[in-house]
Each structure stands twice: as C-alpha cells, then as structure tokens.
Amino acid sequence: MGYRRRKQPQIVLTIYIKREDRTKKMSYSSYIPLIPLLPLAGFVVLGIFGRKYFKRSSGIIGTFLLLVSTVLALYTAYQYFFVDGKVDGVYQPITAIKYTWLSFSKNVSIDMGIVLDPISVMMLVVVTFVSLMVHIFSLGYMKGEERFGTYYAFLGLFTFSMLGLVISTNLFQIYIFWELVGVSSYLLIGYYYDKPSAVAASKKAFIVTRFADLGFLIGILILAFYGKSLDIKTLIENINSSEFNTITAASLLGISALTWGLTLVFIGGAGKSAMFPLHIWLPDAMEGPTPVSALIHAATMVVAGVYLVARLFPLFTLSPAALSIITFVGLVSALLAAIIACTQTDIKRVLAYSTMSQIGYMMFALGISGYDGEGGLGYTASMFHLFTHAFFKSLLFLGAGAVIHMIHSNEMKDMGGLRKYMPITHITFLVACLAIAGIPPFAGFFSKEEILLAAYHSNKLVYAVALFTSGLTAFYMFRLYFSIFWRKNKQLHDHHQEGTVSMKLPLIILAICTVVAGLIPFGKYVSTRGLPLESHFDPVFSLAPVAFGIAGILLAMWMYKNETARPERISVGLGGIYKAAYRKFYIDEIYMFITKKIIFNLVGRPAAWIDRNVVDGTMNGIAWTTGKISAMIKGVQSGKVQSYTLYFFGGIIALAIIFLYLWK
C-alpha cells in the first residue's frame, strides 16, 4: 500500500555493457529528441499565435524548424549507418531514450522512448525530408490562404506525430502516435472546412481508420497479455522464449492467440495503409490540399501500416497464417487499385489508387518474406520500395499540385498539352512516372525488382500477379502523363507562370533523389537481422518486368498521346468490367449500405427510440402511476378544515374503541 515515489523520467543506459556504447547513446539522446520536438514546437507556437502574430511569416517559421530537424535526421543517419551503428558487422538497435509514461502493472507500462535501428533511422530521414519538401512547396502553393498559419501548425503536428511513430520503443507508443497521425490527417483533409465534400472526406478517413484501430487496440491487448510487456523489444524476446509458448497454442476457433493478435494489429496497419477492404478513405482524402496529399497520403502516413508490420516482423515470422493474410491482402490491394486507377479521371484519385497499389506491393513483399539470411529479401525489398516510393510518389503529387495550381481543376479533361507551359513540372513528372513504371535506372526499378525477385523465389502465383500489376502501373501512370502534358494543344487563356521558385525547387530536388535513390545498396543497411544483404542484380531476370513496363507505356502512348477515339472504344468494348472499375467495384456503395442502412437504421435509431420510449417510458410510467394513485387518494385531503377535524375525532374515537374494548 506504500506510496511510491514518482518515477523520474530516466534515460536508460544499461542495455549495453561497453563503455563506448554508453557515450554513443548519450550523444544520440542529446539531439535526437529535437527532431520530433521542433515540429511540435512549430505546432504549438503557430497554433496559438499563428493567426494573430505570424500571419505571413508562419510558413517561414515552420519550414525553418523543419529544416533543422531534417539536418539533424540526416546527421543521425550518417552517424548511425556509417559511424557507430554497427557492432560486429551487425546493425544494433539503440534505445536512445526511454521513460515510463503510464504504468499499468509491474511489467506492463507505456513508455515513451526513441529507438534507433535501420528502419527507424531510414524513416526519420524519409519523413523529415519529404515533409521539408512539402513545407517548401506549400510556401508557394498555399500563399494567400486565410488560415496559412493554421496550415503550417497542422503540418508541424503531423510531422511530429509521424516522427514519434517511427521512433517508438513501445507498442502503445506506436498506438498513441498512430492516433495522433490520424487526427492530423483528419485536420488537414478537412482544411477547407467550408467545403462539405472535404468535411465528409475527413470524417470518413478518420472513422475508417478508427475502425481499423479498434483491431489494432485489441491486438495490442492480446499481445500485451500473453507477452507480458508492451515494450517491443521485450515483447519479442518474451514471445520467442519458451516459457511463453501458450501464445502459439491454439486458443479461439483453433487459431492461436498470437495469430489473432497479429492479425488484429495488421488490421490496424491495413486501415492506415489503405489496404483492401479498408482503402475507401484514401481516394476521398484527396480533398485536402495537394501538398498534404503528397506528404500524408503518399509518402509517410499511409506507409505506417507497412512500417508497423516491419517493426513487429520478428513476431509475424512466428505466425505463417498472419503472414499469408498479409500477402493476400497486399496482393489484392495492389491489383485492384491498379485496375481502378486505369479508369479514374481525377488526377489525384489516380495517384491515390496508385499509392494504394504500391503499398500493396510493400505489404505482400513483407508477407512473403522470411526472417533469416537470403529469405529476408522480401523485407529488405519492401523497405527499399517504401524508401524510393516516398520520393517519386511525393514528386508525383507535388507535380500534380503544380498542375492543379495552374489549371484550377483536378479533372483530366481540363488538361492537355501542358508540357510547353510548365517545362520543369513536365520533366520531373516524367522522371517520376518512369520510376514508378520500373524503368531503369530510376529508383523504382531497383526496389520493384527486388520485390519481384523475392516473390519469384517464394511463390510463382504472387510473382505473376505482381508482374501483371507492374505492367498496369506503367499503363495508368503514362495514361496520366500523356493526358496532362500531351494530347490536345490546349491554349491557356491566362498565361500563368509555372509557379514560384519555392514550388519548383522541391520538384527538382525530389527528381534528383528519384534518379539516385535506386543506386543506394539498400540491402547493406536494412535487413531483417541487421546483417548486410548482398543485392542480386540480375539483368536476365529484369527483362520481364521491364518488358511489361515498356508495353504498358507504349499502350498508354498509343491510346492517349493524341486525342483519339481509342480509349472510348476500348472502354465500351470492356463493358461491364470497365464500368465496375470506374465505380471502384462498388465497394463504397457497400459500405454506405452497411453504415447508413444497417448501422444507423437497425442499430442507432432503435437504440435512441428504445431509450426514449421503452426505458424512459418505464420511468415515466412509474411516475405516472404514482401520480394516478396520488390523484385517487388526494380527494381525502379536501382542504376542508371541518372534514379534517371530523377525521381527527373519528380516528380518536376509533382508536379509543380499539384500545378500550377490542385490544384485550
């Protein structure tokens, strides 16, 4: 019953014995917290004072803070990968900071901390870098907006949450930042809050991901219960050790608790990463400002699900069932989204489906991956694709943003022939398209190559579907490209400039990254056990994917380069399939039916009705009955003094008779 002294936040230094490691962690812990905290500071300052005091300068403030973060993140990456991350040739996870935030019981507590390992350091770089690009781009794109300061505040909040997520040491810490990421996404999608469609989209995004988070939460509860810890490292150790073998024993419906827990956690990840069938929010989320889509809905937040699976990968390898679910979901998402993307006409929606498809790639790459040695290729490939995808997809979105900024429309039919008006956008967009289509030597080629290789070695069916999807990817991306920049030679009425320097600069930087990112020997740095993985570049194997990519590009060129009737004819020829794909396979409609018709009408309305009529009716009924009885007997209380005296004396006489004669 004793009162425990308050635990001071303490830096955990005792994991390694070596003295130099200790100083190493000290040096990390001195500046790494700044990486997430600077954007948070930006959020607080701009959120409270931005509206009044920094109306113009809030963009500069936010960008500057993030620039510092980015530099620190790059420095961290350099330190980790090249200076002292390796111990005996293996990249070790380093817990730089950890303190108890909320303690539930002796073992189970929510800790806030920072862990550095290859994937978290990589994500630090990706998030800060892309966020910085978006900050810079927004300086021009969002100029003159009324809530400019608020916009930068929200961007800061998002960046903070995302960084907090990737450096989490604790499963619950991930969940906390997971929710924060969700809410910043909600706020940013609903940035144009007076537009009903934006409000609806933000609501949808939040609710769908919240629904998925329910799975995540229950998954955490299951894992924490059986693993006796919430700390990821301890959890993995506990579950791997033999005394915790109850978790792998069959429990409910013949499925082990571990599989249940991991599958539920994966549902959370699938929701955030817009995997089928929880993807419906992502296309609608494009209602937000385009730079936001580039940051949140292309490069960072939507890959959180992939990151989550990668972070818990040692656990997932213990449950083949969970991994096969991941493979299946990833593959279906990749294919389905690619098909839908071929039919959409809103350029941001095409990009959204393309994002979903690419994340599907990352997911199934994790699903087919093993844990040891060469078998872990899928893991490395998935992370590699995550890394390169962040660059070229944000580049695509920013390019689309520049186009939309100029045309003031999202629809393909309003565009065409823009290559003359926006040369820089055109070139960078083309680079990104080539990258996503998997044409060498751009970044996407290398990462996709590794995924396909991993698929080839593990499951031929997966490989076939992935190969087909990569052809589709090339087709729909170049459909987009040709529709925007070629086709008709439309004369623009007003001769806009292509955009400010702040808008062009990020495009160029990202394009350069897209070109060089693929050349990084990624396997050397990121792999399942921290051991370097040799890359298996095999020109012969590459032939098929590249051929599919080029076929897709040529088909798109044939159909869309000039204005022809071909697309029309083909879509008519495909008939029902085209229509179904255009209507996104009616998944939205199914959801609407379930929520509006079933949840609202069959659950909500009856609940409200029962409450008002049955439950409250019972209460009122009791009151009514009491009232009626009271009305019946109140006639006796006539208010006539004489009758009262009569009752009084009558009563006395009655009592007198009772006591004198009857009570013997």
Partner: protein, 104 residues
Amino acid sequence: MSDIPISHILFVSTALFFIGMYGLFTRRNLITMLMSIELILNSVNINFVVFNKYLYPEKLDGIFFTIFIITIAAAEAAIAIAIIINLYRSHRSIDVEDASEMKY
C-alpha cells in the same frame, strides 16, 4: 361544595366539549371556530381541576396544568386572531372555505 358529585361536573365538561366539537364541525367562520376550540380547551381545564380536587386533593398538578393551558390558549388566540386578521385583509372574508389557494 363537596355535596356536588363528580359526575355532575364531568357531565358539564363533556357537554362543553361536545358543544365545542359541534361548533368546530359546523361553523365556517374562523372566529366561531376559534371560540369552539376555546370551549374544548375549557372543558379539558374543568376536567383537570375536578380530577385534581376529587381524586388527589393533596396535590396541585391538575391546577398547574390548567393554568398552563390558559396561558397557552391566550397565546394561541392571539396568533390565531392575527392570522384571521391577515386572512381578512387579503380575502375580505374569514370563511375557511374561501381560502382555498393552497388546496391540493
């Protein structure tokens, strides 16, 4: 004086009591009702005195009670008449049936 039997006096007090009762039941006028209550009280007083005198002549308890009741009755009458006057001021009547605002 000791010739008078106790029953005579008790008869008087009972008569007085029931006259008071009758008045209380039938009259609507508050003053009359007050007077009836005084009659009842006086009948009780007589009882006290008589029982004291005839049963315990060596004690004075009954007498004390009588004096006590007379005092109380005086105070009560004062308050009652004050209420009646106030009622008259507000209702222009001292009929008990007229003051029916607080009924039910």
